[in-house]
């Protein structure tokens, strides 16, 4: 399934809002694809979803679920 730009943008916003992606202090505003992939992998692992690093339907659905407003502490390092 082709992910639309709006859906991808919403996913990046989610990953940013809940601490899976950190905006660099310096450098370009856009995230590198590999940063987004790594954040998605962390989110999928923390959510007990198949870890693909891709924005699939299950990942999008998980991001739409009601939740707490605080950040998640999960990234590759903490999960390890």
């Amino acid at each position: 399934r082709v992910v639309g730009p709006g859906e991808k943008e919403a996913a990046v916003d989610y990953l940013l809002q809940y601490g899976y992606l950190q905006r660099p202090l310096e450098g370009p505003d856009n995230f590198r694809p590999e940063d987004v992939t790594e954040a998605l992998r962390a989110f999928q692992e923390a959510s007990e979803l198949p870890v693909s690093g891709r924005l699939d339907d299950a990942t999008s659905a998980r991001m739409r679920q009601p939740r707490c407003g605080l950040e998640d502490p999960f990234n590759e390092k903490t999960l390890k």
Partner: protein
């Protein structure tokens, strides 16, 4: 679990500034008190309510934007609530959510409040999706309890709960307060065990079942969540002998040992508890009979008939229960008149239904857990026919009972 910080004290104050308006205030308040108790039951923490002024933990509800909170909410769905880590103490609920209790609809306030209090106490999000501290709301669970990861997390911060509560620190006690806890709540009973301390058809036609320190509501579609008795009726102990609600006076009387407590809804009447001195202590059961608008108190094989609004001459009581209520057991555990106009007696794991002539009907006793608590008996199949349609098929939330004007008369049964 992840630890974000901790309070440098274990006896904390809290203040309920305002709670979401989609729930009746007493339901919302009971949900929040229960949320505190999840944590205080596993860690040596106590929470004392203050009604005014500063408190360590402050709970409130706000909409998308609040002048007092830098984090906005986003309307229904998505973000439900947020909280500050120690030692800040803010806990905020999104006013636009459908907050509920005892139903799968909406968002359960008790569970979300417990989650946010976890943050306020220093816990971060857990990676166990079934833990309370998981970031995503897993939905309503009727028999909710903390996940081992939640317990391990809070005990890593504050230690394990020990029988002794005491030592250390602090606090100004000049503010008007409500003491929460520090009694051990005891094990949560299993509604499917079938035995009860008391039952009551309460205000607004709700059926309440009491066992140990807990109470739950019984509806046609299932059971409500288990609350500690003191979380709903402040100041009331657990392990009650009997409970009875009178639509005539709108008073609820609870009996335990040689004491009686009186409430209107969830507010205790001034002067209570009082000592029972005109009927025997350690009653077995009590019920209101709408036909003569009297309260009946049962003990052993006898009963007392009590008019709440008149001086009752008890010199001829107790009278033999079997003289008026035919076919019921001695020493009943509980009794009530119910929405269908019948009288029910409970004892052990069974119940008896009485017709309008107060005679036990054929086919009784039956299984309380199966017919009242929606529990599936391992020995019962659908073809057994052990289904009391008058119970399971009735909507419980309408009260057709008569209501008279409340009269400010102290019942003669009490001193």
């Amino acid at each position: 679990y992840l630890l974000l910080g901790r309070w440098r004290k274990k006896h904390l104050t809290f203040r309920i500034v305002n709670l979401p308006s989609t729930l009746p205030s007493y339901t919302a308040r009971a949900a929040v008190l229960q949320a505190f108790q999840y944590w205080s039951s596993v860690a040596p923490l106590t929470f004392r309510e203050v009604k005014a002024g500063w408190a360590d933990i402050r709970l409130s509800s706000h909409g998308r934007h609040s002048p007092h909170c830098s984090s906005s909410f986003d309307g229904p769905g998505r973000v439900l609530a947020h909280a500050d880590i120690p030692e800040l103490g803010s806990v905020h609920f999104d006013e636009e959510e459908l907050w509920t209790e005892g139903t799968y609809r909406g968002v359960n306030l008790r569970i979300i409040a417990a989650h946010e209090l976890g943050h306020a106490l220093g816990l971060g999000h857990s990676r166990y999706t079934q833990a309370l501290m998981a970031p995503v709301y897993a939905g309503y669970r009727p028999y909710f309890k903390l996940h081992p990861d939640d317990v391990a997390g809070i005990q890593a911060l504050y230690g394990k709960k020990s029988p002794e509560i005491g030592e250390e620190e602090e606090e100004d006690t000049t503010l008007p307060t409500t003491t929460l806890v520090p009694t051990e709540p005891g094990p949560m009973p299993d509604p499917c065990s079938g035995d009860l301390d008391a039952v009551m058809l309460g205000p607004r036609g709700k059926t309440y079942a009491f066992k140990g320190n807990y109470v739950w509501t019984v509806t046609a579609s299932g059971l409500g969540p288990l609350f500690q008795v003191s979380a709903l009726w402040e100041g009331l102990p657990g392990n009650l002998d009997a409970a009875v609600y009178s639509p005539r006076t709108q008073w609820i009387h609870f009996f335990k040992g040689d004491k009686v407590w009186r409430y209107t809804n969830f507010k205790m009447s001034p002067g209570f508890p009082k000592k029972l001195n005109r009927v025997g202590p350690n009653l077995d059961a009590a019920l209101y009979w709408p036909i003569n608008k009297k309260v009946f108190l049962f003990k052993g094989s006898g009963y007392w008939q009590w008019d709440e609004l008149a001086t009752t001459d008890f010199s001829h009581y107790p009278k033999p229960t079997k003289g008026l209520f035919t076919g019921v057991p001695d020493q009943p555990s509980a009794a009530m008149s119910w929405l269908d106009g019948r009288v029910y007696f409970f004892k052990g794991k069974q119940y008896w239904r009485l017709n309008q002539q107060l005679q036990a009907e054929k086919g009784f006793p039956r299984d309380t857990a199966h017919n009242w608590m929606h529990c599936r008996s391992p020995n019962t199949t659908a073809s057994d026919g052990d289904t009391d349609s008058s119970v399971t098929g009735t909507t419980l939330n309408s009260d057709g009972s008569p209501r008279d004007t409340i009269l400010d008369v102290v019942p003669s049964v009490t001193d």
